[in-house]
Amino acid sequence: MSAPAPTVAALAQGLATGKFSSVELTRAYLKRIAAAQPSLNSFITVTGESALKTAAEADAARAAGRAGRLTGVPIAHKDIFCTEGVLTTCGSKMLGNFVSPYDATVVSGLRAAGTVMLGKLNMDEFAMGSSNETSYFGPVHNPWDLQMVPGGSSGGSAASVAARIVPAATATDTGGSIRQPAALCGVTGIKPTYGRCSRYGMIAFASSLDQAGLIAVSAEDAALLLGPMSGFDPFDSTSVDSPVPDYTATLGDSIEGLTIGLVREFFDEGLDANSEQHIRNAIAVYEKLGATVREVSCPNLPLSVPTYYVVAPAECSSNLARFDGVRFGHRCNSPKNLLDLYCSSRGEGFGDEVKRRIMTGTYVLSAGYYDAYYLKAQRVRQLISADFAHAFKECDLLVGPTTPAPAFRIGAKCDDPITMYLNDIYTIGANLAGLPGMSVPCGFVDGLPIGLQIVGPHFSEACMLNVAHRYQQETDWHLKTPPAFA
């Protein structure tokens, strides 16, 4: 098996019919990973030995008639998810030697479903970044053009799925970290509703925004994998106790009569004209499929980036206080006293962007500034949420671009944090309001992929996946593979 890997659905089919075993499949992917790693740098750890062992167990389970839909399908995890007995770095020097003593709930759920873990994927340090350039382990390269960023923070997940060196990968999204890299790498990404997937064992960045999700080739694959990742978890106090539907059951439903909203603020002057044309073409596909398209407005949405850059750093500054050089993580050499141990360990262990966000958060939460920045941002966040709630009174889903433009050159936006932050201008709103969002490949600009964003009301994942799947039955953007990895 050397040709570009097909979808999870096709692999599951191949395993079920005995076309290949999980061990054969796993071996083939490990070979592809080893070949691509020097050019992509998308993995931090490859767990080849344990993968082959799990694959053999999957084959044995199948022989014994105990196989589920995903038994033996290889996947990889973003290195933000704790994996028992395996290095879990979160892309940071701070956790460069951290071997997790337990599994994240998302990881154990996917393991229980029979998937085989190939390894841990590169990411922006502590998921803070939009280009995968803040990783302590070096930048990930975009498989469509190695000079370009893959997006971030789930850059390793998106690049690996795009290059077909893993069939699918877990990812996380705090301000766009699943959807933006999915768009820039030409793959399908879903960030579920806040609380849908457990955050237990997912290293915290901004706890009121963080959500686990995944990146795959197609919406159908995303539907297959999302089920075992979802559901109530007593270990996460914000996990929501509501039933998880079979997301694959409704994929083929007709979307006739569905009302799709175009958010006026998503089509602002910042949107690249060529990208906009592809978004408009995608909307035309939906009209052909019988959906009604209407324009809606979310007037406070342009304030989502400044709102986010108060709320997210504030939460990050308190979450990252746990890294003190005492219980786990990096410790400085010969500290003068306890205070020096804290300050030097943190100063050395965190990278530039993480320190920038911790300090921004410390500032907006400090005495005298809390009301002016933090409370103000939480009030604006309420307004943004209300805008979405209002839009969903008039339509079932919202669509628009995922990013203002296709991937940019590695190094191009490193000097100015604000320019970098504005990459997430269309994705942050969904996180602030806790809404589910997707990105679906919808075209190419100068040889680089771009994505169509779909945002739905809380817990509308089944409807979003249905709408994405119907689009992917009409188009083949999601099946295009980067020539260098064909």
Partner: protein, 96 residues
Amino acid sequence: MSLSRADIENIARLARLKLTEAEIPVYVDSLSKIVAFVSELNRAPTVGIEPMAHPLPGLAQRLRTDEVAETDRREVYQRNAPTVEAGLYLVPKVIE
């Protein structure tokens, strides 16, 4: 709004971050830009708007029942600690 070198040193102290001499001017510049950028929020009228406390409307933080649910895994957890002795984490002397 522009932050001074003293502001950055104070923030770094509160955040328990030791900065190098070279880092300080970089953060003076970028944090000033960020603070100016987020000050855009002042334009939004928010009188009478409640700060959003939870991303899902109407949901409050769940509490668990007060009973022991964890087993003792101290030894496993301490494998990641830089220095441990007799089950205790070691730090520089605090009381002279």
